[in-house]
């Protein structure tokens, strides 16, 4: 757990999003404290990824306001990064080129500085030996680390994680959450994680939120989540051991 700043870095108010007649998000309100990691749970199809895409500006909300650092914004461009469920790596680029891409296209850094920064990011994620590998030559876990290296190379203030443990085995899932916590300390970012991995998320997050029927049904600390009387919340709070461990830390 980290020392949280009282001023939220991200504030979502009255967010609504529908597709045709199907309303997915119905007035979502959420505040994300600076420096925290918040995990968003919810049943499949409740709009968790839609919520994240609205934050990222990939989907335009029908109504509502998203404020980043107290300013309205039309997407996370620049100061924020997004880790996709599919990793969204470029097959035709090497690991180094994938990581260097955002620096090459959005900064005025020279070629040597960009290569050095990309090498440093790969080294931080333990991928320095694979700089010249293409994604097809790497494993699923390495893809995840490579995508994280690309997300962190621009030193973003906010990182959005869409199902970061999808498709990984249990040890791999734990490793991803440990990696997020470790690099949050190193890179000092705020993280919003959409996940189904409740035990891991409860053990590592500062705050959790439950999205149900298009609204935030619960938002608070993992301990508050465990103590909640709400039947829906309780149905999700099955990992009490992890909650107690987290509360005890």
């Amino acid at each position: 757990m980290s020392e949280l700043s009282p001023r939220p870095i991200l504030e979502v108010t009255g967010l609504r999003k529908g597709f045709g007649e199907h309303l997915v998000l119905n007035s979502v309100d959420l505040a994300v404290p600076r420096g925290s990691i918040i995990s968003v749970f919810g049943r499949s199809g409740t709009g968790k990824s839609v919520f994240l895409k609205c934050l990222a500006g990939l989907l335009a909300p029908d109504a509502g306001v998203v404020r980043f650092d107290s300013e309205s914004f039309d997407g996370i461009r620049g100061r924020c990064s997004y880790l996709f469920q599919s990793n969204a790596l470029f097959d035709s680029l090497t690991a180094l080129e994938n990581v260097a891409l955002p620096l090459e296209q959005t900064t005025r850094l020279g070629r040597n500085e960009i290569v050095q920064a990309a090498h440093n990011a790969l080294e931080s994620l333990g991928l320095e030996k694979f700089a010249d590998y293409f994604p097809a030559q790497m494993s699923g876990g390495m893809h995840k680390r490579l995508a994280l290296a690309r997300a962190l190379v621009t030193r973003p203030h906010l990182v959005l994680f869409d199902e970061p443990t999808a498709g990984l085995d249990p040890p791999g899932r734990a490793a991803v959450f440990e990696m997020i916590v470790q690099y949050r300390r190193q890179f000092d970012f705020t993280g919003v994680i959409v996940t189904h991995d409740i035990p891991e998320a409860l053990a590592t997050s500062d705050r959790v939120a439950l999205l149900d029927e298009g609204q935030i049904r619960f938002a608070g600390t993992p301990s508050e989540f465990a103590a909640s009387d709400d039947c829906i919340v309780r149905s999700f709070g099955e990992s009490n051991v992890a909650i107690r461990e987290n509360a005890g830390n």
Partner: protein
């Protein structure tokens, strides 16, 4: 009757909206050119994709087109005792019509389909969304270099098609059917004026921009195919891109010709 009118109206509106979206897409690809960074390597890759890889098909089709024109032209002109005009016939047919159109159709078949599929896969695997979240304009990154490459590649391959086609006409007209080579090449030389070359290059340029923009747009909008997703959506986008680009080539050819004749 009302249903028919309703269907016609809905399809017309959808076509108009699609046309407007395509126009916005293409103008954006041009407008972001000054802000697009590190374009050189992606432009060179696009030139390789559209140009170098299409050289075999363009030269083979150019050769056979010239051979057929030589054969057909010789026997038709012979009826009027005008075999000596074979060079004129082959040169003008190639330069003003066949070379720009057939070269464009070949490049669409080879490179346009690949571009449409590749961009569709970028869309499906969220790579286009990833570019957006990184603050990179996906149109500037993926589309602009390809349109710039088309501006260079189409005229060059069209000229190559014309030259190989002229050689094909010479092979069938002179070597096979016995027309004097001096008569053939002299007719070629005297027939082609600068206006014909300009028309040839203008058509190549327009077809290049139009067809590559259509193929890129089709791949870029893969996710908008209602009711289909994944590989099926990529397949449909690729087919749609090639069919629309080929049709647009012939329609644009008619329009340009009607203005220049």
């Amino acid at each position: 009757m009302m249903r028919l009118l309703q269907a016609v109206g809905q399809n017309s509106l959808a076509a108009a909206a699609g046309l407007g979206d395509f126009a916005m897409f293409t103008s954006r690809a041009v407008a972001v050119l000054p802000a697009t960074r590190h374009l050189g390597r992606r432009w060179a890759r696009a030139v390789h994709e559209q140009g170098v890889r299409c050289v075999p098909v363009v030269t083979i089709v150019g050769l056979f087109s010239g051979l057929v024109l030589g054969l057909q032209g010789y026997y038709v002109l012979a009826r009027f005792g005008s075999e000596g005009l074979l060079g004129t016939f082959v040169a003008l047919t190639l330069a003003r019509e066949l070379a720009p159109v057939l070269a464009a159709l070949m490049i669409v078949g080879q490179a346009g389909s690949a571009i449409s599929a590749e961009i569709g896969i970028h869309r499906n695997s969220e790579q286009i969304d990833a570019l957006t979240t990184m603050g990179i304009d996906p149109i500037g990154y993926l589309i602009t270099p390809r349109l710039l490459a088309a501006v260079v590649v189409f005229p060059i391959l069209t000229v190559a098609f014309t030259l190989v086609g002229l050689a094909g006409g010479y092979l069938s007209g002179s070597l096979l059917l016995g027309l004097d080579p001096g008569v053939y090449w002299s007719a070629v030389h005297s027939a082609v004026r600068s206006a014909d070359v300009q028309e040839c290059l203008l058509k190549a340029l327009v077809f290049g921009l139009l067809t590559m923009a259509i193929c890129c747009h089709s791949g870029f909008t893969t996710h908008r195919r209602l009711g289909v997703s994944g590989s099926r959506a990529v397949s449909l986008s690729t087919t749609r891109g090639v069919v629309l680009a080929s049709t647009a080539t012939l329609a644009a050819d008619y329009l340009i010709t009607s203005f220049l004749v």
